[in-house]
């Protein structure tokens, strides 16, 4: 009897190790930029960009989003992030202009 074909094959340990090393490097980077370089106004953007990259690595490799065949996974997650982005935009379009438009 044929074994039912699995949707994803088992990921190699080495792939995980490389991703982990990348995550550690990014952690070191975000620490160094914040504590040593003091980017001032850009700080929050840099921090969020690095955190976003780290999350992308975790999502795609540890959580296997990259190798997920059903399109539905690749649709739902960006969709929720878009919803979240709208929440943020709506909130700040209010909060940023309280006290009048400068």
């Amino acid at each position: 009897m044929e074994k039912r074909e699995e949707q994803t094959h088992s990921v190699k340990y080495s792939t995980y190790i490389f991703v982990w090393m990348g995550l550690l490097i990014l952690t070191g980077l975000t620490y160094t930029v914040a504590v040593r370089i003091h980017p001032g106004g850009w700080a929050i953007l840099v921090a969020l960009a690095i955190a976003g990259t780290k999350s992308g690595l975790v999502l795609n490799y540890f959580m296997h989003l990259r190798s997920e065949k059903p399109l539905i996974f690749k649709v739902i997650i960006p969709l929720v992030m878009a919803v979240f982005l709208v929440f943020i935009l709506l909130t700040f379009s209010d909060v940023a202009f309280r006290g009048g438009v400068r």
Binding site: W20, L24, A34, V35, F62, T91, F92, V95
Partner: protein, 206 residues
């Protein structure tokens, strides 16, 4: 007769459905923490100096260490799932136990952080905290709520993993049936991702 019994008690396997269920739960968790992140963003926008000042009181080394701990625990659980899929049962169990151990170390560190703060009189509604500027009160309120809720999620994750260990021992988790472990792993990676954002936003405000 036995064949009939088998077909009645045949386990229905819907791996995609199970995985989708966990993903939907994960997305609901993202909205939960997302709401708090929006709150954080608003208060930080309104009180930039206070947030910066309060953030300096957190232990960056401990926070960085905790980040490394969680990232490594994510590596362990991912590798554990690869191992069980390859039929390497013992390795999978050891990696699972390593994940749990790292999760517990994270919680112990968190415990040290919190007790240090509380000993200095900084906790929600404390007189010492209420005497501080408004922005700092907001910062520490958010700090306790968000790292507290996150810590609770870590604890729940460790408990779920201990159930997985039991399933391993009973051979209910093996090369043919590993979706519960994979879904537990997905939950753990979410907990890791939340911390990936908590860390710079609380510890690295420059």
């Amino acid at each position: 007769m036995d064949e009939a019994k088998e077909s009645v008690f045949e386990e229905t396997k819907d791996d995609t459905g199970a995985k989708l269920g966990m993903w939907l739960f994960i997305l609901s968790e993202l909205i939960l923490f997302g709401g708090m992140f929006i709150l954080y963003a608003t208060y930080r926008y309104k009180n930039p100096a206070d947030f910066h000042h309060a953030s300096k009181e957190l232990d960056v080394i401990l926070g960085t260490l905790n980040t490394i701990i969680l990232l490594t625990s994510s590596l362990c659980i991912a590798a554990s799932i690869s191992a069980v899929r390859k039929g390497e049962r013992k390795l999978s169990m050891y990696l699972l136990m390593a994940t749990m151990a790292l999760g517990l170390v994270f919680l112990v560190n968190k415990g040290f952080e919190w007790t240090t703060k509380i000993e200095h009189g900084i906790y929600p509604n404390s007189p010492a905290l209420l005497a501080r500027p408004k922005g700092e009160i907001l910062f520490f309120g958010l700090y306790y709520i968000m790292t507290g809720l996150h810590g609770l999620h870590v604890l729940v994750g460790v408990c779920v993993f201990s159930v997985m260990l039991v399933l391993f021992v009973k051979d209910k988790l093996n090369q043919r049936r590993f979706i519960p472990l994979e879904n537990s792993g997905l939950y753990w990676h979410l907990v890791d991702i939340i911390w990936i954002f908590l860390y710079p936003l609380f510890y690295l405000i420059t």
